[in-house]
Symmetry: C2
Subunit: 382 residues, 2 copies
Amino acid sequence: MTQHVVVLGAGMVGSAIAADMAREGFRVTVVDSRPEAVRQGGAMEGVRAVQADLSAPEAVTKAIAGADLVVGALASSLGLQTLRTVVSAGKTYVDVSFMAEDAWELDPIAKQHGACAVVDCGVAPGVSNLLCGLAVEILDACERLEIYVGGLPVERSWPFEYKAGFAPADVLEEYVRPARMVEHGRLIVKEALSEPERIDFPPVGTLEAFNTDGLRSLAYTLQVPHMKEKTLRYPGHIELMRVMRHVGCFSKEPIVVGGARVRPLDVTSHLLFPKWTFEEEEADLTVMRVVAEGTREGRRVRHAWDLFDRYDPVTKLRSMPRTTGYAATCMAVLLLRGAYREPGVHPPELLARVPGLVDAFLAEYARRGLKVAHSTADLPRD
Amino acid sequence: MTQHVVVLGAGMVGSAIAADMAREGFRVTVVDSRPEAVRQGGAMEGVRAVQADLSAPEAVTKAIAGADLVVGALASSLGLQTLRTVVSAGKTYVDVSFMAEDAWELDPIAKQHGACAVVDCGVAPGVSNLLCGLAVEILDACERLEIYVGGLPVERSWPFEYKAGFAPADVLEEYVRPARMVEHGRLIVKEALSEPERIDFPPVGTLEAFNTDGLRSLAYTLQVPHMKEKTLRYPGHIELMRVMRHVGCFSKEPIVVGGARVRPLDVTSHLLFPKWTFEEEEADLTVMRVVAEGTREGRRVRHAWDLFDRYDPVTKLRSMPRTTGYAATCMAVLLLRGAYREPGVHPPELLARVPGLVDAFLAEYARRGLKVAHSTADLPRD
C-alpha cells in the first residue's frame, strides 16, 4: 500500500515538499490554515490539501493521524509545539521549521513514544549538518569545520543587493543575535555581523561572509575544536546593516516619538520588508560551502563540499524553497525506506554515523538537480 | 552715547553674537526664553541677559524697544514673525534665522516703517551672498556662480563622519528638500542629495559636494545664467543618507506599527540626533568656496573665494557659531556705522552694490580671524 506523507504548512517550502513527495509516488496531504495556500496546494498533481489551524495542537494530531511520515514546514514560532505533538503521536518526522528553541529537549518524549524525528533538516542547517557529520566520519581527527551559506537574488539592486528567501523578520534576527562558535574546543560568542571577509564563490563571484549564530546542534554533538558558520551576502550589504544597527534601527527597546511608543526594529522591518520581497518569478540563487580540515592516515587534508543552485525557470520554483524543501524530502525518502529508525529527536549530523546514509542522501539530492561537489586537498604540515 | 544692540536668542550663535558686539564696545542685551541660556548669556562680560518668551510678538516688541539695532538668532520657525515684528517697529535688523519662508515678502512693511533689515546674514546664506553679489559687480558678465559650504566635525567617526552644527532636524530637511538651481537662466529643480562629486578643499582634503536648496534669494536677485549651491560632507556620508532615504527613514508619511502611528522621519531623527551632537569642546571646521566665472574686459576669468576656519580652543567657540554669528556682527557694525540705510528687507547680495561695502565687511570678518582668500585665474576661451 502506498505510504502516506502529511506535510504541515503549504508555504513556499511546504508546497515544494508536497509536490516532490507526490512526484515520488507517495500519497500526499498538505495542511495549512490559509485558504489561498490550501487552494494552491490542492491544485498540485497528486496532492490533497486540507485547511486546519495548525497553531492548535489538536488540529495537528488530527491532521497527522493516518500518516506514515510527517514533514514540518511551519513558521519557526510553531516549531517546538508541533514537534512535541508529532512525536507524542509516535510518528516519524522530518522538520525544517528552524525553531529558536533546542529541539533535542524533546528527545526523551520521542524515545518514550518510539518516534524518530530529524529536525533542522533544510539546506543549512540540514545538508550542512550531514556534511559536517560526514567529515567527522571520514577524518581520523577533524580539527576545523566551516559552513558558508547564503540565499541571494540574482539581480543585484542598489543599495542592499538582497531579498529575503524566508520570513524577513528572521533575517533581521540573524543580524542582531550574537553568534556562537567554537574555538579551541570552547564555545565563544561573537557580535552579530562581525568579521566580514570576502571570499570567491564561483560561478557567483566574490561574496562577503559574516558570523551568524548558525552552528546550533553542531556545537554540542561534534567534538571539533574549531567550528563556525558564516552567512553570505553580496559585498557591501553587511556594512549597511552595521550602519543601521549603529543608528539603532534594529533596537527592540521602545522609544517615544510624537506621543507614540514604538520599537525601532518594528519600524525598520515595516520599511524594509516590501523592498526585500522577491518579485513573482524573480530569480534567486543558493550558495553553500562546507569546509573540513583534519588528519587522515597521518596526512593533513582539507575537504570542501560546494552547492550552487539557482531559480528554476521551468517549474518557476526559486532555489531557496527547493534546496530547503528537497533536503527534507530526500531525508523523508530515506526514512520511509527504513534507512534510519532510531527513536529520538536527532539533528542531521547524527545520522551521518550510519554508513552510506549521507551518500544515499546526496544521490537523492542530486537526482533533484542539487549537486554537491566534493573536493579534497592536502594541507601543509604545521 | 553708546549704541544699544539687542540680540534675540542666546543659543550657540546668539551667544557668539552678543559676546562679539560687547567686545566691540556696544551696549548689548540678549534675550532668550530658556533660563539656562539667560544665565549663561548674563555671565558674559558686558552683556545684559533678559528672559522672555520670544514666540510672543509682544515680547519681541518690548525687548527691542530701546535698541539701535536688533540681531535675530532665533529658531528658523520663529524667523518670519519676528522679522515682521522688528521691521514694524522701524528697527534696523540683521537676521540669521534661516527661515523657510521668503523674507522679502515683508519688504513693503519694512519700507512703510523705514526699517532696514538684512536677512539670511550668516555664513551661507550670508557671506556667500555678499561674494556672489561682489562677483556680479566685478565682472562685466557673470556666467556662473557656484557655492560650496559645509560645517563638519574635525574627528571623522564611522559611519557618518558628521555632526550637526545647528538644529539636526534642519539637517535632515536639507536632505529631503528638492534643490532649486539655475541652468541656462531657468530655475530648475533637482532631487535632494543628487549629483555628489568629490572635490579637494585644502587643508581638509577631499570632500563630497551634493545639491542642496541653498540659492534662496540669489535665484531671483541675480541675473546669472548658471547658479547652484552644494553642501559639503566627508566622502561616503551622502551614500548612507541616500540609502536611508531609499529605505524610507526620512518619510513624513505616517506608518502604523505595533498599533502605534509614527512618522519614520521622527523615529530616524530620534535615533540619529544623539549621535550627531557635538561633544563639549569638540572641534569642528567650516569650509566655504564661492566660484564665479564670467568675462571682464574681454577675457574669460574665474574668481574663487575660500574660507576655512576651525574650532577656537582659546574661546572654546566652535567654528559654526563664529562663522555664522560674526557674519551677523560684521554686518551689524557696518549698518551701525551707516554704511547702508535703505529701508526694506534685503538679502545680502543687494548690499554688494554699495561700493566698498563687501571689502569693509571682509575686513571686519578677517579682524575676527575669518579670512576669505580670493584668487583669480584666466579661463580658456570657448
